[in-house]
């Protein structure tokens, strides 16, 4: 998800940018201290998926900004008070409403909402259930449901399947971009796991088919949000 941040306060922009850094699939392409400059940018760049938008800005409010866009991207409003919450949800493009200062846990929920909103707004297509990897000039089909986990190894990745493992010349980031985000999750700098294959989680360790994988401190709350816990 490509996002921009619009806030006249540098402190807020720094915090939102830092929060975005915790997500592989969320990249901040530009920051703006006023809505007019952001509008000009969006007129030239139609590939922005998400806008983190401050409501209170001099001259041009966040709501003025939304109404000026013919096809607004998904919007997450950021504000120091909650009195605009009802008004906010009159706009279909507004996905969430964050009160400053934004906590990490609250931000995780906003990103989950964004992922769902973007997924639901995509035209219905046949879900891809596999990908092809190039090994020794041979393209090998890999069904997603056969993948247990993927480990980064420098310029290579090791894909652990149920009955074998494959080493592919690519980066973990490149491969992850080809995987469905509702099925695969990066639990550590060097590991992506298939959520359906997790057997158990204990403290900062994930167990999958007899293998244990480290769970980073940053990824743990995100993972807890993704899995079904009673």
């Amino acid at each position: 998800m490509k996002c921009i941040i619009i806030d006249d306060e540098a402190t807020a922009r720094a915090i939102i940018s830092k929060l975005c850094q915790g997500y592989e699939n969320l990249s901040v392409v530009e920051e703006f201290d006023n809505a007019i400059a952001a509008m000009k940018f969006l007129n030239k760049n139609n590939n922005v998926d998400v806008v983190f938008l401050d409501i209170h800005m001099p001259d041009f409010t966040g709501f003025d900004f939304i109404e000026s866009l013919p096809n607004p991207p998904k919007i997450v409003l950021t504000t120091s008070d909650d009195k605009f919450a009802i008004e906010a949800f009159e706009y279909d493009c507004i996905v969430d409403y964050l009160t400053k200062p934004i906590s990490q846990l609250r931000f995780i929920k906003a990103v989950n909402k964004l992922e769902n909103a973007l997924k639901n707004s995509l035209p219905a297509t046949q879900e891809q259930e596999y990908l092809f990897v190039n090994i020794n000039k041979r393209l090998i089909k890999l069904n997603f449901d056969k993948i247990l986990l993927i480990q980064a190894k420098g310029d290579y990745v090791k894909i652990q399947l149920e009955d074998e493992s494959l080493v592919v010349h690519t980066t973990l980031k490149n491969l992850t971009e080809k995987l469905p985000s509702n099925l695969f999750f990066q639990v550590h700098r060097s590991y992506v796991v298939n959520l359906k294959k997790i057997d158990s989680i204990e403290e900062n360790t994930i167990y999958i088919a007899g293998t244990h994988v480290r769970l980073s401190k940053l990824s743990r709350p995100k993972l807890m949000n993704l899995i079904n816990i009673i």
Partner: protein
């Protein structure tokens, strides 16, 4: 006179041990706070209460970042009062800003 005790719990949580980010964020907070405080005082001196209220609103974020919950509530009341041209909470707000100034001056 109410005493205010700012803290950096939120900044530390956000930094997650990233000292470079922590220092940069503190630098931004300090610099922006001083500018906003000065702008607020100028607007107030010139009896431009709508712009004073706008500056109070901007300062609310930093008040909350420094863990000043009670001060944040008072700031919101002051913001609304200023929009009605009431200055009755101005001195209380000055106390909050002074506590923040003193705290930020001593933080590295």
């Amino acid at each position: 006179m109410k005493k205010y005790y700012p803290n950096l719990d939120y900044v530390d949580d956000m930094s997650e041990g990233d000292e470079s980010f922590r220092q940069n964020l503190l630098k931004i907070i300090k610099s922006e706070f001083l500018d906003e405080k000065e702008a607020y005082l100028n607007y107030f001196k010139n009896e431009n209460y709508m712009d004073s209220a706008r500056l109070v609103h901007k300062l609310l974020h930093k008040i909350a970042i420094l863990g000043l919950g009670e001060a944040h509530k008072l700031g919101k009341i002051h913001e609304e009062a200023l929009k009605e041209s009431s200055t009755k909470f101005h001195l209380d707000f000055i106390e909050i800003m002074n506590a923040m100034s003193n705290f930020l001056e001593n933080e590295n």
